[in-house]
Amino acid sequence: MAAREKLNDLLMDVFLLDDGELGDELRRADLDTWDSLGTVSLAVGVEEVFGYHMTPEEATGLESVGGLVALLRTKGIEIE
């Protein structure tokens, strides 16, 4: 499965999104499910799916899906 597909599945799982809601422009402020527990779920999910353990600062500092994609890119995980 491609990295983008894995990320989309993860985001749908963690934030209970539909296909149409996905995209890098999706912001934390726009999602009621991206709360503190959602941040924990996302961090656990990123480690499970991509093998990268986010620091608490990285996890709580994310503001959008695009920010997560950029963070993963700096760790050598390319999301096409």
Partner: protein
Amino acid sequence: MSTILEQGAGASIEALDRAWETPETFAFLPARSSIDAAWAEKVLRALPDHLRQDHFALLTSGSTGRPKLVIGARSRAERLAKALHAAQNNEAAARAVVALPLSYSFAFVNQWVWATVHERKLIPTEGFRDPAALRQALVDARDAMLCLVGVQAPLLAAAFEGEVFNGVIRLHFAGGRFPQEQLPTLRQLFPRASITNNYGCAEAMPRLTVRSAEANELSANVGRPLPGIELSADDTQLLRFRSVYGAVAVFEGGRLREIGTEDWVPTGDLAEQEDDGTWRLLGRTGEVFKRHGEKVSTAQMLETVGQTWTAEAATYPDEDRSGEPGYVLVLAPAPDQVGVRTLLRVIRSRHARAQWPLRIEGRETLPRLANGKVDAAALSAEEGPVLWDQRT
């Protein structure tokens, strides 16, 4: 003192008829019980003199799995049967199709004692252990009452899809969540039946409240107490009752505890009284808890689940990775991913994340106790596919 082991509905009816005619107290035990008859006889022999005659004892393993021998007075059970008869206009029912084990207090009082007091006929079946025989009994039924537990509603729908049983005119549910979402199907199966939600517990021997299916849209609403019964909730919302029909004693954990008519008896459920005087269940005491400061009621979550999922559902407690309490939602049979997504969308739209299940698991069927209730211990011990994980 004697002990009767349930051996099929027909044989049990004959044994109960004989036991009711003799004064000595007897125990009526389910056939599939972890408690042996010798234990029950030992308890009976140790009863104080005033309980050694004109009483009966039923075993409740309950959903917690801790066995209790609940002792009722025959005169009270007969009074309750008469009160039910009057409260529900059951005089129209001339017979009852037995589809539950009679050792289950709801079936014992609502069907066997009722039939004894009012000289009505019982039609024994083995319930869903022999669906063909149950179907035939329902086809042959005339002006009949049928008592079920809520979890049997999906079984009815699956086993008898498209059939119509005009001979059933009273349909009673008790024992766990009332299958409100199954009402359209139930009305197709039993178009002439009035459908009733009954609530109670073994210590109530067994009934506390009653409401017609149409009286409320929430399955958790159990209506008002029967005449002779009072309900109250304490500061923690624990529901308690006082009843002129209730059990007179309970043997549990090696001790006999007698219950007076003025004693408040905890039901083990949490509840709130609505403005109209009816009561709404919030869940068992262990089923309402706080998670990250948010109140979680698994009964309310199952109410939400029932809006879109009409097959079997149950929950069991668990903790997340940080040790915070939560619960696992179990669905049977396991839905496909589309079904899971649909359900999750409904949950997302109505509940804060702290109220979401930790996981959703699938099972082929839910493990059941002999009385049809979900076996909580077996549910958490069994393994099934994880359909969704909140990852907290």
